[in-house]
């Protein structure tokens, strides 16, 4: 195997792409959360002037793309690929939101891990010389996700404490072969892991083994250790999944607790905002990364970050048929300097 591949699941990028701009547009609730100052726009209501939630989600993607491009001083013509996805069936938020973009498009689905998946593919494309500039972008919308995966919004039902709250928002970054960082240095692609959890209201518990596995493999493949990072941030395990992931890694002799956070716990104030175990959705890790993490890396308060977005690869049909939940986690290693 040629030099770029190190270990079983990891690629070390020889020409690390630079993240040159990032943008995030979020919903009202996210705009009331602890990261509100990091978002470019907070939409005033769940429809944002559109007739349906699905259209709103497409608009989130479309407007986020426009922001990413304008912040980087680029036009759509400069972009070789858009790699995007969302939670809706057949990824209609991305497909419809980007249909007028005129840019070669790769649609991806990795549930809530989609942001790391698109950044992984994007980095490899740039490293291989197949693209100069590309955009990685994902979205989710609380209402459209509830409609597809759970119950009608106005139904008077209770959510169990382990349930997570789908983030309304779209976030994305522009990767380029030119630029002054932060750089994507390693990509560790996760494998599908299913530990037999069937409760679709406990995604954190289902996804934790996938996150722990990818983090462990990343260290093994790269020879890096938790000390190599200022922040190891998982996609959206929520409070239960984060604790389980931490304990699973401790059993393996890997202690990341002092630098371990989770996007689902960062985007909301879980004590005050009635989101039970935390946030989730493709937009959650995308907005936390493109807003908070990217800006903090630019400022220099974060230098080395391991971004591990996690996804529960279930569907409403698989849940109704009593299947357990296959899960995945993809890791992207980002460094402020080379």
């Amino acid at each position: 195997m040629p030099g770029k591949r190190i270990g079983k699941q990891t690629v070390k990028l020889q020409n690390p792409p630079s993240i040159i701009s990032g943008a995030a547009i979020v919903g009202k609730k996210e705009g009331e959360g602890p990261l509100r100052t990091y978002f470019d726009n907070i939409i005033e209501d769940e429809k944002w002037g559109e007739k349906t939630w699905e259209k709103t989600e497409s608009k989130l993607i479309r407007e986020t793309l426009a922001l990413i491009l304008s912040k980087a001083g680029k036009s759509a013509g400069d972009i070789n690929y858009i790699i995007a996805g969302d939670l809706l069936n057949q990824c209609i938020a991305a497909n419809f939101g980007l249909r007028e973009s005129g840019v070669p498009f790769l649609g991806v689905y990795g549930a809530c891990s989609t942001m790391a998946e698109s950044m992984s593919i994007g980095s490899i494309l740039i490293d291989g010389g197949f693209a100069d500039n590309l955009v990685c972008l994902t979205s989710s919308h609380f209402c459209s996700a509830e409609k597809q995966f759970r119950f009608p919004l106005e139904l008077g039902s209770q959510r169990p404490p382990s349930a997570q709250w789908t983030v309304t928002g779209a976030g994305g970054v522009l990767l380029s072969n030119q630029g002054a960082g932060p750089y994507i240095t390693h990509v560790t692609t996760g494998k599908i892991i299913d530990m037999g959890i069937k409760d679709a209201n406990n995604m954190g518990g289902a996804m934790a083994p996938a996150a722990a596995d990818t983090i462990m493999v990343h260290f093994k493949d790269t020879g890096l250790s938790p000390d190599s990072y200022d922040l190891i941030v998982t996609g959206d395990l929520g409070s239960i999944g984060r604790e389980i992931c931490d304990e699973l890694l401790k059993i393996e002799g890997i202690n990341i607790n002092d630098r371990f956070n989770d996007c689902g716990l960062m985007i909301f104030d879980t004590k005050k905002q009635d989101v039970n175990a935390g946030g989730s959705g493709c937009g959650c890790s995308a907005c936390v990364f493109s807003g908070f993490i990217f800006q903090e890396m630019q400022k220099g308060s974060l230098n080395e970050v391991l971004f591990v977005a996690t996804g529960a690869l279930l569907s409403p049909i698989s849940t109704q048929q009593g299947e357990s939940i296959p899960c995945i986690a993809h890791a992207v290693s980002i460094s402020r300097s080379l």
């Binding site: 007739k51 009608p152 106005e154 039902s157 209770q158 530990m195 037999g196």
Partner: protein, 148 residues
């Protein structure tokens, strides 16, 4: 990663890590709100009887009014908030039944009046109707047979 836990062990472990619903609190709230809805129904029923309706007509009209109120407060985006607080307390009374029909009707209006509202209206109430009616038919047949 998976060598430390078998699937079964992991499920037990996750269960132990997952906080339980606060049953005592939920039951108390359900009792309170469910009870209040029933008191409201009784109040309406008494009022109608005072106006001269007989018991059967008064209870039919009471159900109608409660269904209307359930539908109205679903449309006003209030019933889901009530449900989040009260749980079964607002699901079990007839107002909850109205909520279970109106909420999908609102949700799926964007897919049109036939394949959206029409087809999805009974998404949640449908199973209740199917098995409720089936059970009543079964009980009727049993009653008929036992009478002989």
């Amino acid at each position: 990663m998976n060598k430390n836990y078998t699937k079964k062990e992991y499920q037990v472990y996750v269960e132990s890590k997952t906080p339980k619903s606060k049953h005592v609190r939920n039951i108390a709230r359900a009792f309170l709100i469910g009870g209040l809805i029933c008191v409201l129904g009784q109040f309406i029923s008494n009022f109608l009887k005072n106006k001269g309706l007989d018991t059967e007509n008064a209870s039919n009209l009471t159900s109608l009014i409660l269904v209307f109120l359930g539908a109205l407060f679903t449309g006003l985006n209030v019933y889901d908030e009530l449900g989040r607080y009260a749980g079964a307390g607002s699901i079990v009374p007839i107002t909850g039944f109205a909520n279970s029909i109106v909420s999908p009707a609102m949700e799926f209006k964007s897919e049109g009046y036939v394949l959206g509202v029409g087809a999805k209206m009974f998404l949640i109430a449908g199973p209740v109707l199917v098995y409720g009616i089936s059970a009543s038919v079964a009980a009727g047949i049993l009653y008929y047979l036992l009478k002989f």
